[in-house]
């Protein structure tokens, strides 16, 4: 009995360590035959933590965004989760599924899908279901050998998703070999896309039947139980003092697009070069500032125990937890 208890405790500690593993920008995470590259990291806190329980910098850990850079060709079913560890999956790299053959692919809501991502992909179930994607690259569905079902609920920037770039950089129309299908309620979101005049739509029940068929009536896919709410991404907004306090800082961790720093991740559109961004609100002065990095600093010489430092380029600013600027 004791052996079982120790095994459980050991497994818990091991999983905790795994969860707590810190990644930095550029690191590759491999899980279930899928590789993810870390695009950006930022500091978050556990959802249960409060300013009263955060006694020092050790309560902060890294979360961020990753994109899928490789999928094992031998996988029958590809399930790309919305979250890996503490990292949100935000996109698929260029040509990710180029020439692949999979039975079913489950995709989360994504910020971007790279150029030629699903080009020449063959689907065993006969259809590829794409959920909300904020931005598409070029030639994303070029010669997709399956039907394409858009299960969207938001506005989409179609870009050149249904065009292919020729050698002389000119664009020519390109679309899947199969039908393009969408929910009738969402027709307005595809109205200005090139495939509007070629697509089919169905209302709720019939549309569900299309999706059900695309996943071979497998309820695990249909229930959409890969909801990101199950995952612990951490809390991105945290005050340095009690929420009711009039003094202090309210810090929100996030990321922003950086357009002027080149293409660090291959030929992916530059909109998705991501950089951490901290929005800091001085509650007393009602003043908002933006910084690239946030460093909680443990300084034993400070009477209050620890303080916060923000860095943006060469600028470095230190605040007490009450929001008071610490002069050098």
């Amino acid at each position: 009995m004791m052996r079982i208890v120790f095994t459980v405790i050991f497994a818990f500690i091991l999983s905790f360590r795994l969860f707590a593993e810190e990644y930095s920008v550029g690191d590759v995470i491999q899980e279930n035959g899928i590789s993810y590259k870390v695009l950006v990291t930022y500091l978050v806190i556990d959802a249960k933590e409060t300013p009263d329980t955060i006694k020092g910098p050790d309560k902060f850990y890294r979360s961020g965004e990753v994109m899928v850079i490789n999928v094992d060709k031998d996988l029958t079913d590809v399930v790309i989760p919305p979250v890996v560890g503490r990292f949100r999956v935000v996109g698929l790299t260029d040509s990710l599924f180029y020439g692949h053959g999979h039975d079913r692919i489950w995709l989360p809501e994504l910020q971007f899908v790279g150029n030629g991502c699903f080009a020449k992909l063959k689907m065993g179930s006969g259809a590829l279901v794409v959920h909300n994607v904020a931005n598409f690259g070029t030639g994303v569905f070029d010669e997709l050998d399956a039907e394409l079902i858009f299960d969207i609920s938001k506005k989409v920037t179609w870009g050149n998703a249904f065009y292919r770039m020729k050698e002389d950089s000119s664009l020519v129309p390109s679309q899947p070999k199969g039908l393009v299908k969408i929910n009738t309620r969402m027709l307005s979101h595809i109205k200005y896309c090139r495939v509007y005049d070629d697509c089919y739509s169905a209302t709720a029940d019939n549309f569900r039947k299309w999706i059900s068929k695309a996943f071979n009536d497998d309820e695990r896919f249909l229930k959409n139980d890969l909801n990101e709410r199950k995952y612990n991404l951490g809390r991105r907004t945290y005050p340095t003092t009690s929420m009711r306090g009039k003094n202090g800082l309210l810090i929100t961790a996030g990321a922003r697009n950086v357009k002027d720093l080149g293409y660090p991740w291959g030929s992916l559109t530059r909109d998705y070069y991501r950089q951490s961004k901290y929005t800091v609100v001085d509650k007393k002065k009602r003043k908002t500032s933006y910084y690239q990095d946030f460093i909680p600093v443990a300084d034993v010489t400070q009477k209050r125990g620890w303080y916060v430092r923000f860095v943006d380029g060469e600028e470095e600013v230190n605040y007490t937890l009450n929001g008071k600027l610490i002069k050098k």
Partner: protein
């Protein structure tokens, strides 16, 4: 509207007589038609040569498609069908021209056709008209009919493309009346409409059953029916707008020295409701400027000097200027027929009347003789 009226004034000079063989069926080009109503019209003989009559007699009327006799072929429902009606007047070789009003109940039940081309502007499509119909080309394109009756598409073994969910008349949307068209949903085929049509306001149908398709898919399916003639669809439709949409026709008879008499032949499509398969008889509305009255007649016929109307089972005769003729007997021939061939009185009645008249005249003569003899 004005141009239509002017055109009709020019086209139709006058109405001649009323006849009916409603309910009679005939077969032509693989389709069975049933006559809903019929009328004989005198048309002005345009371009007539010397010796030819000023007017020619044509039979007109309405039919609906009540069956199909062919299979595995392309069947096109025309807008007008010509047929040598047995009710045509004997003195003419012109065939009767019937406007195709609609498709009757179960007209295409169980049929297997390569394609079925349905024209625009039909008045109705009857109950279960396409029940278990199979279109081997894959798509049954159905233009809007003013009334779509119960379970029209039940059991159709191909896709159904409903071209529009509303009709237009002079660029004004006219709603289609759906009467339990999609009531039984168990055996419905996939029914497609164009993306834009899904927002059309309809009453009586749950639009959740519809799939929608984009313009390109829609055109491709339509052209599959209409062959390679890309503009045929639009031309066909515009030609039908005139032919099928007028609610009534006006016919005016007047000369310089006579008052104007205007007749309106009302076809009461929209009044008949559920009995639209069998139209009511024509109705002739007459505004007589001589008597300054407006009447509605069941029948109307005329020749070069008089016209005859029927109201409440009674025949009335008028001169062309609208003056009522009260002495009907003066119009009758020796056999008791009026100038239009109607037997007003039987031979016995005429004989009796004439004998009575003779007796009366004899009696009057005797009375006059007696008056003279006694010096009155």
């Amino acid at each position: 509207m004005r141009s239509i009226i002017i055109f009709l004034f020019g086209l139709v000079s006058c109405l001649s007589a009323y006849a009916s063989q409603r309910g009679v069926s005939f077969e032509k080009d693989g389709l069975v038609y049933t006559i809903s109503s019929e009328i004989i019209v005198l048309e002005y003989n345009i371009g007539r040569k010397a010796g030819e009559p000023e007017y020619i007699v044509v039979n007109r009327g309405e039919v609906y498609v009540s069956g199909v006799t062919v299979s595995d072929s392309v069947v096109k429902i025309p807008t007008v069908v010509s047929y040598p009606s047995t009710y045509c007047r004997k003195d003419t070789t012109v065939m009767a021209q019937y406007r195709v009003l609609g498709i009757g109940a179960k007209a295409f039940e169980g049929a297997r056709l390569k394609d079925l081309i349905i024209p625009y502007g039909l008045r109705f499509i009857g109950n279960e008209a396409f029940h278990n119909l199979e279109i081997t080309n894959g798509v049954l394109a159905v233009p809007p009919a003013r009334k779509m009756k119960a379970n029209i598409f039940e059991g159709v073994k191909s896709k159904v493309l409903m071209i529009e969910l509303e009709d237009t008349y002079l660029q004004t949307p006219v709603p289609i009346i759906f009467e339990k068209t999609f009531e039984r949903k168990d055996n419905l085929p996939d029914i497609y409409v164009c993306h834009a049509n899904i927002n059309t306001v309809t009453t009586g149908i749950d639009k959740k059953i519809f799939y929608t398709v984009g313009k390109n898919v829609y055109k491709e399916w339509m052209l599959r029916s209409w062959g390679e003639q890309k503009s045929a669809y639009n031309m066909y439709r515009s030609s039908l707008l005139f032919v099928t949409k007028e609610a009534s026709s006006f016919h005016t008879f007047h000369s310089d020295d006579a008052p104007k008499i205007t007749f309106k032949t009302a076809r009461r499509y929209d009044k008949v409701g559920a009995d639209i398969d069998m139209l009511p008889p024509y109705e002739f509305e007459c505004r007589n400027t001589y008597t300054n009255s407006r009447d509605t007649y069941e029948e109307f016929t005329m020749n070069s000097s008089i016209f005859r109307c029927k109201k409440g089972g009674k025949y009335l005769y008028f001169a062309l200027d609208g003056k009522p003729i009260t002495n009907i007997e003066s119009l009758l021939d020796s056999s008791g027929r009026d100038p239009f061939g109607l037997q007003v009185f039987s031979k016995e009645e005429i004989k009796e009347k004439r004998a009575a008249k003779e007796r009366e005249s004899n009696l009057n003569k005797k009375v006059n003789d007696l008056k003279k003899a006694f010096g009155f």
